[in-house]
């Protein structure tokens, strides 16, 4: 009896050790991933508080001997030309990204709903057609879109970027939202209709509140895409007062030199809105991505 009990206990221990081994391997992997993603951010922050000379020292100063906020002061001072430019670029990026996000949601929500709920000729074809653009690298559309924007008089306007970002961001936004709508039981809308609601009212009062996580996820996705985009902004805009941040921070690179602390401070400040947005809304984002993937 005791032999059986001992054998069982040994088996359980071995199993627990196996489980613990995998768990520890997972933890180590996650720690590695955390370092992999966090170290560049930390290094960016540390470099941004160094002087130009300290930033180039080898071996590197892991923590600056003489920390300075000079780069941040320069960027945030509206009295000097660097600060004026940076704040203008920041505002431009915020404007373009916000408008893109709002329009993206306004278009993607009804489009995704239509794909989810209605049957109409060419539905499948259209649904896959919206993804067609995403099957090609963005850069091959650069010159054709530039010529198109030129023809419609949008070169050197933020409208050219908003239109382009919508074109690129909408396909995935529609796919993301459609998956979400597919998971909302149609019976809920039918019940609302029986209670006297119109289809539009059922959509606004029943479907929209239930799809809030999906809409927020779509908004985050659109915002981040527009906020970080470089090549189209670089091509379509050539006036200093209109540049967005990804293009604007190029000014820290010269032919023969780079202002590393300035570049890092600008990059850090550029990442702040996205990080804050994601931290605040991440639970919606994760929920949308997972719920859209499971059929109830």
């Amino acid at each position: 009896m005791s032999t059986i009990a001992e054998a069982t206990a040994r088996g359980q221990t071995r199993r627990r050790m196996r489980i613990d081994g995998w768990r520890w391997a997972g933890r180590i992997f996650l720690l590695f991933m955390l370092l992999y993603t966090a170290v560049p951010m930390i290094w960016m922050l540390i470099t941004s508080i160094k002087s130009g000379f300290a930033a180039t020292q080898f071996p590197p100063q892991w923590w600056p001997d003489e920390p300075t906020l000079a780069s941040y002061q320069k960027l945030l001072d509206p009295q000097n030309s660097v600060g004026q430019d940076f704040l203008r670029f920041f505002w431009n990026s915020l404007f373009v990204s916000t408008v893109t996000t709002i329009l993206s949601v306004i278009v993607a929500v009804p489009a995704a709903y239509a794909f989810s709920r209605f049957t109409f000729p060419g539905r499948n074809f259209l649904f896959f057609a919206v993804l067609l653009r995403n099957m090609f690298p963005a850069v091959i559309f650069l010159v054709p879109l530039f010529i198109l924007m030129r023809a419609i008089g949008l070169v050197n306007t933020h409208g050219s970027l908003i239109l382009t970002y919508l074109t690129f961001g909408l396909p995935l936004a529609i796919w993301l939202l459609k998956g979400f709508y597919d998971n909302i039981p149609v019976q809920l809308e039918q019940a609302a209709r029986i209670d006297g609601a119109t289809r539009f009212q059922a959509f606004i009062m029943i479907v929209m509140p239930l799809s809030t996580p999906g809409i927020i996820a779509t908004a985050i996705y659109s915002f981040i895409g527009a906020w970080n985009e470089y090549i189209y902004a670089y091509t379509f805009l050539s006036k200093n007062e209109q540049l967005t941040l990804p293009v604007g921070i190029q000014r820290f690179f010269s032919e023969n030199t780079t202002d590393f602390p300035g570049l890092m401070a600008a990059s850090f400040m550029m990442s702040v809105p996205v990080v804050v947005l994601f931290l605040v809304l991440q639970r919606y984002f994760v929920r949308a991505l997972t719920e859209g993937a499971v059929k109830h």
């Binding site: 130009g52 080898f58 003489e66 530039f146 091509t235 200093n240 032919e255 023969n256 590393f260």
Partner: protein, 492 residues
């Protein structure tokens, strides 16, 4: 290196005469405002500060100062990493232009060196180019040959063709027609860290005499100190690469064509010559055999060499006098012990002539920039305000501003700039300026061909990368590059 040594080095150079002739040769050589045959640090000092110029008065003859108009203008700008001094001069220039021509609405846009050509090409495709553009020396013929530029010669903006370096005028001439005005011209020099030389057992005050010495010194520095010896750069589509490799190629007697000769015809491709292969072999030896250059050389440009040099991790590099000013700025902004360390780097910085090839041939790229006016059909709005454009060009290319805008890193495109009081002041304040001005007579312009940007920015770096990565042998890489140039010139 003393000025006397530099002066005699200039006079001694056996090939200088040929190269100087190349730079000076124009179809109708008039009387330049300075005597180029006497070019030496002493001569430059003797003419500095000998003449005054009235910029506004001169430009008023081209475009009246009360002219009302609008100008869109793109240029390779100066940015945060550039010397403070230079950034201030750029700021002063645009302020002065606006004061001098208060009724011209100027919309200027600064672009970075590596982006300007690509962005300009895209804008031209959409007929959305600016009215005037200042391009690097390599760009003029490409756009002139495609019909984008209006004919424009120095006489159109109040100057004489002889007021500019003949080599620079060649770079803005296509099919016998002049399409631009040079703003600045420069040659680089060889920079080394005296302390690193000393610690590696080399003479701290003597630059390597030949490129073969550079290979040897680089290995010695790497072997003894474990740091990179020479700052080789091989990045693709970055102007820094040809500016640093072509002097080596020419010194060994090679070339893309015969651009290093007095009267180049650009007919025969010479990238696959034994001399060109020897130059490529030298780079291969440093990168692959000795591993004595930065491992990141394949993607490096000068902006990547500079931090290594500042950190004492690089012994030698080819660059402008502005590197010294950048160091001064870094030192001025450093605090505490960093300030002292930065001063040590500055104290150990040395400038010398670029090394020669095995046969004593010394060469350097004759670089610079030019301003051009676009044809109306390629410009946003379909109109070019020529008087406004000429006012801007007159001012930028004036003796005063062509010098001030090149204060720390280049030289005035307008030779009269060397006579101004600012040149005298510059010689007193910009250390090592003597060395880089001494290199001017050794300068070789890039081939004045529309294909030059493709050859210099893509094919030549590709050749280097193919050899250095082992994708091809040195012979194969040189042959491959020569074939690509032939195909390109043949219209393939």
């Amino acid at each position: 290196m003393t000025r006397i040594m530099l002066g005699s080095a200039v006079l001694r150079g056996t090939v200088v005469g040929i190269l100087t002739t190349s730079l000076m040769s124009t179809s109708a050589l008039g009387a330049p405002p300075v005597d180029l045959s006497k070019w030496s640090p002493e001569y430059v000092r003797s003419i500095a500060g000998t003449q005054d110029f009235d910029t506004a008065g001169d430009c008023a003859k081209v475009t009246p100062l009360d002219y009302k108009g609008r100008l869109t203008f793109w240029y390779q700008g100066v940015f945060e990493g550039d010397p403070d001094l230079l950034r201030q001069y750029y700021k002063d220039f645009f302020e002065t232009f606006r004061k001098t021509y208060p009724n011209i609405q100027l919309e200027e846009q600064a672009l970075t060196y590596n982006d300007l050509l690509d962005k300009f090409r895209t804008a031209l495709l959409g007929n959305a180019a600016p009215m005037a553009v200042r391009l690097q020396i390599l760009g003029g013929t490409e756009f002139a040959s495609k019909g984008y530029l209006q004919p424009l010669k120095p006489e159109d903006v109040g100057y004489s063709t002889e007021d500019f370096w003949p080599g620079a005028m060649k770079a803005v001439t296509w099919d016998g027609v002049t399409y631009g005005v040079p703003t600045n011209n420069e040659t680089m020099a060889f920079i080394w860290n005296a302390d690193i030389f000393k610690r590696a057992g080399l003479d701290p005050d003597k630059a390597p005499a030949t490129w073969d010495d550079v290979v040897k010194y680089s290995k010695q520095i790497h072997d003894k100190l474990g740091i990179a010896g020479y700052g080789l750069v091989a990045r693709k589509n970055a102007g820094n690469t040809p500016y640093r490799f072509m002097p080596q190629l020419w010194a060994y007697g090679g070339g893309v064509f015969d651009e290093a000769t007095a009267n180049p015809t650009y007919k025969e491709v010479e990238l696959d010559s034994p001399q060109s292969k020897a130059a490529l072999q030298a780079s291969y030896d440093m990168y692959v055999r000795d591993k004595s250059v930065p491992v990141s050389a394949l993607t490096n440009q000068q902006a990547d060499n500079q931090p290594l040099f500042v950190a004492g991790q690089l012994g030698m590099m080819v660059s402008h006098p502005s590197d010294y000013n950048v160091m001064l700025d870094l030192q001025a902004k450093a605090t505490g012990t960093d300030k002292e360390k930065a001063q040590t780097v500055i104290d150990n910085m040395r400038y010398g002539l670029i090394p020669t090839g095995p046969d004593g041939k010394r060469a350097v790229v004759f670089g610079g920039s030019n301003i051009h006016i676009l044809k109306p059909e390629y410009v946003e709005g379909g109109k070019v305000d020529e008087p406004a454009a000429k006012a801007m060009i007159c001012m930028w290319a004036s003796p005063e501003w062509s010098l001030k805008m090149a204060y720390a890193g280049s030289n005035p495109g307008n030779l009269n700039g060397f006579k101004t009081k600012w040149m005298k002041e510059r010689l007193e304040h910009i250390k090592f300026l003597d060395v880089t001005t001494s290199m001017l007579p050794y300068g070789i312009p890039f081939p004045a061909l529309p294909e030059s940007p493709e050859i210099m920015n893509i094919i030549v770096p590709d050749m280097l990368q193919n050899a250095l990565t082992g994708a091809m042998t040195v012979d194969q890489a040189a042959d491959d590059a020569a074939k690509k140039v032939k195909d390109l010139m043949g219209g393939l």
